[in-house]
């Protein structure tokens, strides 16, 4: 199994130097009803990175703890119960108390990823899609231009989805990946935009790195392949640099081959059996990008 980082890294990202990866610090803020810290930490740790889980309160008390962190991971869960609206209360708290530090992290080329509630928070914070033209010179967070609202079919649902990656996207997290399979587990995952111009711009800039696809591999708006009814099958967003990425499904819940609902059938069909889950590749991509300076 996948408990040996060096061998996993050799399998998934042979170009990466384990010693260099071990120097990378990944910050995983926790608490307030967030709950995917174990699998998100494991995603990076299985590959050999150094993960620091830190309660959001400690980060707010000392924003300097963001310094020196290569990757900031916004995890899934139900921050403050998703009361009011998903991610709203936590996004506000972060904006009021940590906004400048977050904007600086991104402006300095820091990486960030958010899954599910983490993605909802990033969107409501303005981290995604981020500045539309160029980064604010005053290192301020962009205003909220998109939102994630209730699925067309009311209520939370848990089922695996398939997403196709846009090869033309600047997103470093999906680079080289074609299909990503992950569980989708949310009630509010439908992406909407302040106006059609923003949507068109994001479309033109390949800022939708992942889209839900049907059995034929085509982007779809039809349930259940697209759990939310998100237009164009859009499942996630990246910023202009491609280093900040968020999506509704949970690649961090596909770390082991046995996470996949069809793992037995796949094992039977395959000549060799990879014991890691393909969701790990997203995180390996993030580590690779962290070792390469942004352009």
């Amino acid at each position: 199994m996948a408990s040996n980082p060096a061998s996993l890294l050799a399998e998934l990202a042979p170009d990466l130097d384990p010693a260099a990866v071990a120097q990378l610090r990944v910050l995983v803020p926790t608490g307030y009803g967030l709950n995917c810290e174990a699998e998100t930490a494991a995603a990076f740790e299985l590959l050999g990175a150094r993960v620091e889980q830190l309660h959001v309160a400690e980060l707010l008390a000392d924003p300097n703890r963001l310094r020196g962190c290569a990757i900031l991971a916004f995890i899934g869960g139900f921050s403050f119960g998703d009361h009011v609206a998903s991610g709203r209360v936590l996004a506000n708290r972060l904006r009021f108390q940590l906004g400048d530090a977050l904007a600086r992290h991104v402006a300095d080329g820091g990486l960030a990823i958010g899954m599910c509630n983490g993605f909802q928070v990033m969107v409501k914070l303005g981290l995604l899609p981020g500045p539309l033209v160029s980064a604010d010179p005053a290192d301020r967070l962009a205003p909220q231009r998109a939102s994630v609202v209730g699925n067309d079919r009311h209520g939370y649902r848990d089922a695996w989805v398939r997403m196709r990656c846009d090869p033309a996207s600047a997103c470093v997290w999906t680079r080289g990946l074609d299909l990503i399979e992950s569980p989708s587990r949310h009630g509010e995952g439908k992406l909407v935009f302040a106006d059609n111009e923003i949507r068109a711009q994001l479309e033109a800039e390949h800022r939708f790195p992942v889209r839900y696809v049907d059995a034929a591999g085509e982007p779809t708006e039809a349930w259940p392949a697209n759990p939310s009814g998100s237009a164009g099958g859009v499942a996630g967003l990246c910023d202009r640099s491609g280093r900040v990425f968020g999506l509704m499904p949970h690649p961090e819940a596909f770390l082991y081959a046995e996470n996949h609902p069809r793992w037995v059938a796949r094992d039977d069909a395959a000549a060799t059996q990879a014991r890691h889950g393909l969701g790990l590749r997203v995180f390996a991509n993030g580590l690779r990008a962290a070792l390469v300076s942004p352009d």
Binding site: M1, S3, T30, G31, Y32, G33, L34, N35, C36, A38, E39, A42, E45, L46, H55, A57, E58, G76, F78, F80, G81, D82, H83, V84, A85, R88, V89, N92, R93, F96, Q97, Q144, S147, V149, G150, D152, R153, H154, G155, Y156, R157, D158, V192, A194, H250, E252, A253, F254, L255, Y256, A257, E258, N259, P261, R262, W263, V264, A265, D268, R275
Partner: protein
């Protein structure tokens, strides 16, 4: 304090999923079709904000992209010339409002200063195209529960409504003396009944005698504290008392040790002794780590972690408020597993429900009972929200339906946790996590939520039947986020060695939690004035016994108190020092210097009288088996008739697909799932057992299954108990569990088994309980499976409008197994293109209590009595050991149990999951067992496993399992459209059921309900 009203709705054109879901329910349930429907969220902010601040808060709460909001009111649009009917639904005073708490937090973040006060949330439904009466009906039957909510219906234009359900009163916290010593028997009974104490006359007399000896009368709080501690819910008196038992053969004897010690604990003790005798465990590494004395059972797993498991029921509250009652069930059992030893890490939840039939209009239901589909809806939602928001994945889940659950639904919720074998003590040195090293002088600290009147008398309420007087306050509503924040804090504190023990505040509140922990040192002293309240006006006795949720009672050594409280503050978790553990032998409670309660621990915990109970096997209508008649009925089914019967079976609510519901439960969070609760190509087949990793980066896993067969109890509860243990064990073995590391939990839900005017058949019901315990004991001993935790709920009757509805005696056996390598796990889904299909274990003419027999009865053509499935324990266990050998040798490629619905349903599951044809011949089976084909397919004989094996392994496997009742059924096939094809009569006759027809019926059974 200033009050502002905020209204928020979706921006036009963006859709309103809640309105859409409501529209669908109105249509399918009530046949109401409004022309248009919209919803809004309303927050009343009583926070002392000024007008500018209120506007800022509005701006921070409203999504700038997706929503619009207003201070005061949004305009109510006119639709096709028609004004809207506006239905407002909010909480009653004092009902937990978790959303309101989050909005208050958000408001404080926004204005940048701490705020005092409350936020009250409500929901507006705007209807067009429905009359007032129709909307009132919709409110009453779907949208609102008068026990916890208030509603208002008005036609637009509305006036600004600034009323809020403010709770509390100016009542002074007084302690009353109850004149018990002077009371005669009639007065004692009145005091118990009027005070909702659920104390019997014998118990009231014992209390009277105790206080007469002390030379004083008790306070109201002392009486309440005794009532909680002595409640059936907390003290399990029916399981503790001696029983005079007359068995089915008419022979009488006295079970001096009672049911718990004589059967339940005895089984575990015997299994422990067997393990010792056989040296199954290395020295110092007993499988059983902690059983029966803590909140949940603990067994050994790896060198790093133990496993903790507890399953609870929350039936009575779920009857009154399905959503809140059921949510409290799951978040409550979470606290049990969490609060075991020094704290465990919650791993996975299980759920299981027994409801009335959700179909039909049920207009005959007595007033006070909800339609079973509404109870079902609310229970699901409550447990979904409770578990999902806590970040704990679900593993197992089942639903059963029977009209006798219409009075009280059964709501089972359970939680597995991983407990680190050791955690650091205050000095940094490791100490065992499963112990609670509480010392005299340790502080008693209450952590988490505040205390209100919610859940007062929950423990005593669950110890009586449901009737018109059932107290509204008995319902508590959970707040999973407050609880999650509390766990995160307590886990940090545990890992820093900041406390020496904890337990949850569930039934009986502080009176139980402090009362129990006090046994560790031999005393406790608390001051209730230090307990934080949700609102003023609670009497001291109410503070003492309130079951307000999200609270743990923690023992904190003086040296760690400052660090503990400081960490709590940083994590926004309220922690209040209430008192100290002593060795005075007393439970002493004061309120700001006034004595509230001063009870000797010995009397509190051991003083309850346990008179000998009467049990007599005396079934009202003994069933007379007529197997010949049943055979004739079964033989009369031709292939077409049998096919139709199977299709009908698959659509019955007990067997139909419930993935539509089950997928609302998160079963993937934590990223550890291996065999998920739903599987197969379409992900709609319930797994035989579930498997998940326990820690990241490791391959050991936990395997979960269960058995529940309430209909067998109608014939014989001994057979029911054996069947439950057998099926639970068989399930985990199919999935790959080690046979030497299996443990089980017992949950008894019974109708009142004490004879009284209302329960003339109580002696038989108690005899049924005795036989159930005998069966449970025998099965556990035979399989070497210890019972590590349990729960009993003994008053599952509803008495409403002169109608009594009692549940059938129901035992749930939840089984927890272990595997060393999750990658070796098996599921029921067949593999390979031509694997062989086998049935292991004999089939007998055992259709009593079967799903097929119920289907016949529902059609008005009852099947003649045969027998209930009996379980030959020794043979079964030998068979399973042989099976496990083959399994571990890699000769088994998929495995499934024959359970409800018999072999037919197992085969249907295999077809649905793999969408590969099964080409079978049942001649060998029919011949070997001398059974009608229908009986071979529909009998529910226990002890049977259907499995597949690669053709190459067949000879070795057949040789090894031949002596254990192995029958070759046929093989998988990829030819033609997928179907279940069964030849019999030497190929003269064939039964073919296509995958498409089976799936259509499977999906249809519960569709839209």
């Amino acid at each position: 304090m200033t009050l502002h009203r905020l209204e928020i709705e979706a921006r036009s054109g963006l859709g309103d999923p809640l309105a859409e879901a409501t529209r669908r329910r109105l249509d399918t349930w009530l046949q109401l079709r409004p022309r248009a429907l919209a919803t809004r969220r309303v927050y009343h902010l009583e926070l002392g904000l000024d007008a500018d601040e209120a506007a800022q808060v509005l701006a921070a709460l409203v999504d700038p992209v997706a929503e619009v909001g207003a201070l005061g009111m949004l305009a109510d649009p006119v639709h096709e010339g028609e004004p809207a009917w506006v239905l407002s639904i909010g909480s009653l005073p004092g009902v937990t409002d978790a959303v309101g708490s989050s909005v208050a937090r958000a408001a404080a973040d926004c204005v940048g200063r701490p705020l005092r006060g409350n936020v009250y949330t409500s929901t507006l439904y705007l209807f067009w195209g429905l009359e007032r009466e129709a909307i009132e009906r919709a409110a009453k039957q779907l949208l609102y529960n008068p026990l916890i909510q208030r509603m208002k219906l008005e036609l637009a234009p509305r006036a600004l409504d600034l009323s809020v359900p403010r709770a509390g009163s100016a009542a002074a916290p007084e302690v009353h003396i109850v004149p018990l010593r002077a009371a005669d028997d009639a007065a004692l009974e009145t005091i118990s009944r009027d005070g909702m104490l659920a104390l019997s006359l014998t118990e009231m007399r014992a209390i009277q005698a105790h206080f007469a000896q002390l030379g004083r009368d008790p306070t109201d709080a002392e009486l309440e504290c005794l009532a909680q501690t002595w409640s059936e819910h907390c003290k399990h008196k029916i399981f503790a008392s001696p029983i005079h038992y007359t068995d089915p053969s008419g022979v009488g004897r006295v079970l001096e040790r009672g049911l718990f010690r004589g059967y339940v604990r005895a089984a575990t003790e015997t299994v422990a002794a067997q393990r010792l005798a056989r040296s199954l465990d290395p020295a110092g590494e007993n499988f059983l780590v902690s059983v029966f004395h803590d909140n949940a059972g603990v067994v050994r797993f790896t060198e790093a972690d133990h496993l903790v498991y507890k399953v609870e029921t929350h039936n009575s509250p779920s009857a009154l408020d399905p959503y809140g009652g059921a949510m409290t069930g799951i978040v409550g059992v979470n606290r049990d597993s969490f609060g075991t030893g020094l704290g465990a890490d919650l791993l996975t939840n299980v759920w299981g429900y027994c409801f009335g039939d959700p179909r039909g209009d049920h207009s005959e239901l007595p007033a006070g009972l909800m339609h079973p589909r509404r109870i079902r809806d609310g229970v699901h939602l409550g447990v979904i929200d409770g578990g999902n928001q806590s970040g704990i994945p679900y593993s197992r889940g089942f639903e059963l339906f029977d009209p006798r659950y219409t009075g009280k639904p059964l709501v089972y919720c359970g939680t597995v946790a991983a407990m680190p074998v050791a955690v650091p003590g205050p000095d940094g040195a490791a100490r065992p996590t499963h112990e609670k090293p509480i010392a005299v002088g340790d502080n008693i600290v209450m952590v988490g939520g505040r205390i209100g009147k919610d859940g007062i008398h929950g423990a005593t309420f669950s110890s009586v039947e449901l009737d018109e007087q059932s107290p509204v306050q008995a319902v508590q509503i959970g707040d999973p986020i407050t609880q999650k924040m509390m766990w995160d804090f307590l886990t940090e504190a545990r890992d820093r060695g900041l406390f020496s023990g904890m337990t949850d505040n569930g039934a009986g509140g502080l009176s139980s939690s402090v009362g129990e922990l006090a046994e560790a040192t031999g005393g406790a002293r608390i001051d209730l004035a230090a307990a934080p309240l949700k609102y003023p006006g609670l009497a001291p006795w109410e503070i003492l016994i309130s079951e307000a949720q999200e609270r743990m009672t923690v023992a904190v050594p003086p040296s760690e108190l400052e660090a503990f409280l400081e960490l709590a503050q940083r994590r926004e978790v309220e922690a209040s020092v209430l008192g100290v553990f002593t060795d005075a032998g007393r439970f002493e409670v004061t309120y700001a210097g006034t004595s509230v309660c001063d009870l000797g621990l010995a009397f509190l915990h051991e003083g309850v009288p346990l008179p000998t109970l009467e049990a007599r096997w005396s079934p009202p209508t003994p069933s007379v088996a007529s197997p010949a008649a049943a055979r004739a009925q079964l033989e009369a089914l031709d292939s077409a008739g049998l096919g139709a019967a199977i299709l009908d079976l698959v659509a019955r609510p007990n067997l139909a697909a419930n993935d539509d519901r089950a997928r609302h439960y998160d079963h993937e969070v934590k990223g550890l799932s291996v065999i998920k609760p739903l599987l197969g190509i379409r992900g709609d087949v319930p797994a035989t057992a579930t498997v998940m990793r326990v820690r990241h980066g490791r391959d050991e896993g936990v395997v979960l299954g269960e058995g529940i067969h309430p209909w067998y109890a109608d014939i014989d509860t001994d057979a029911m108990a054996r069947a439950c243990v057998d099926e639970g064990v068989r399930r985990v073995l199919c999935a790959g569990a080690r046979p030497d590391r299996i443990a089980a939990l017992d949950n008894f839900c019974w109708p009142d088994p004490i004879r009284s005017a209302k329960t003339p058949d109580g002696e038989h019901k108690l005899a049924q309980l005795v036989r159930c315990c005998e069966g449970l004991h025998d099965a556990c001993v035979a399989y070497g499976v210890p019972l590590i935790s349990g729960k009993d709920s003994m008053k599952n009757d509803a008495f409403l409008g002169g109608v009594k509805i009692s549940i059938p005696p129901t035992l749930l056996v939840s089984v927890i197994g272990q595997t060393t390598d999750v990658a070796q796990s098996l599921s029921l889904e067949p593999r390979g293109s031509d694997d062989r299909v086998y049935l292991l274990g004999p089939t007998a003419l055992e259709l009593d209590g079967s799903e097929y027999a119920r289907a016949c009865a529902d059609r008005g053509a009852p099947l003649a009595a045969t027998d209930v499935p009996r379980t030959d324990l020794e043979r079964c266990w030998a068979r399973y050991q042989a099976f496990v050998e083959q399994r571990d040798a890699g000769r088994v490629r998929s495995a499934h149990v024959c359970g409800r619905g018999g072999l037919a349903l197992a085969l249907v599951h295999m077809l649905l999951a793999g969408e590969r044809s099964l080409e079978l011949s049942l001649d060998a089976l029919v011949d070997a067992q001398q059974l009608p084909l229908a009986a071979a397919l529909l009998s529910e004989s226990t002890g049977r496993i259907v499995f597949t094996s690669a053709a190459a392994h067949a000879p070795a496997l057949e040789q090894a399992l031949g002596p254990h009742g192995l029958v070759a059924l046929g093989q998988l096939s990829s030819a033609g459209p997928p179907a279940l094809r069964i030849q019999h009569g030497g190929g003269g006759s064939a039964l073919e059921l296509s995958l498409a027809s089976l799936r259509a019926r499977f999906e249809e059974g519960l569709h839209g309900i």
